[in-house]
Assembly symmetry: C2
Homo-oligomer: 144 residues x 2
DNA sequence: TGTGGACCCTACAGCGGCTGTAGGTTCAAG
DNA sequence: CTTGAACCTACAGCCGCTGTAGGGTCCACA
């Protein structure tokens, strides 16, 4: 049925490593495929599709638990898509908050670097600011 | 000399956990402090300063290896600050590239969510886009 | 049909940066 | 002197892989 891929054939489409595929099987987000008489894995096209789904989701930053849920949903096309939607929205919120935090860090780093005029460590703003948080913009980089 | 803090006193200033301080000592970025007769750690003010430096650097996203180097530099104030500068610049480049990547992800997630009109999974754009990378903007989220 | 080498197998350790747990000891207030 | 909070070490676990060791299998070509 369909084709017959070895584990080494799948990465050629999706760019992920062989060990990663075995890892995905181990944690149960890729199904255990058929085996040859010599115990080697043999996949078909649907395995490739599933792996592509997983890799794409990872590229968008979804954690494996969320992907597990998204795959479960993808397997039940007749159900409502609220859950898929809310997983994606949660991921979007997460991405937005990371961007906000990184932009604060960027501002602080730029200020630090701009104020350093390249003399000795003793006068170096980079070291000085790191040593003294109170020189930072208020709440520029909250602990969280 | 100076004061005499227990390990539990340090976190009150810096907000980091007791185990984390012990971990920093284990990996050699915090010095081994004196011990009481009963083998408990006793710190002085300089330990607190050093921990604050480390925590602040972590908040700015510096990896521990970079912090190790920054601390070494901070201990030699007569030397030129080129290295400190270039570590900070490298960190800035790193932060910028993470921002760029996250902004691409954000755009893709927003598009995905906007196109989903809340029906069945079968028609759900979130699931569909995840299953088919070619529906993404070109190079929207490169593998790296 | 034999053989060589590319591929595959399992099991487990390691990455970064902590965090949590178990099981025991010490300190200091009352 | 007693209590209980804080301390100690040692080690496992988190995420998402990646790498290594020490084997076994597959298949194209001679």
């Amino acid at each position: 049925m369909t084709a017959d891929y070895s584990i080494g054939d799948l990465p050629r489409e999706t760019g992920c490593k062989v060990q990663t595929i075995r890892y995905y099987e181990e944690i149960g987000i890729m199904p255990s495929p058929a085996r040859t008489a010599g115990n080697q894995r043999r996949y078909d096209r649907r395995h490739g599709d599933r792996l592509a789904f997983i890799r794409h989701s990872r590229e968008l930053g979804f954690p494996l638990d969320a992907i597990r849920e998204l795959l479960r949903l993808a397997d039940h096309p007749e159900q409502p898509c609220d859950t898929a939607d809310s997983i994606a929205r949660a991921q979007l919120r997460h991405v937005k908050s990371r961007i906000a935090r990184l932009q604060a860090l960027k501002a602080e780093l730029e200020r630090m670097i701009a104020e350093c005029d390249g003399g000795q460590i003793a006068d170096c703003k980079v070291i000085e600011v790191l040593a003294d948080h109170s020189q930072c913009l208020a709440n520029a980089h909250p602990k969280a």
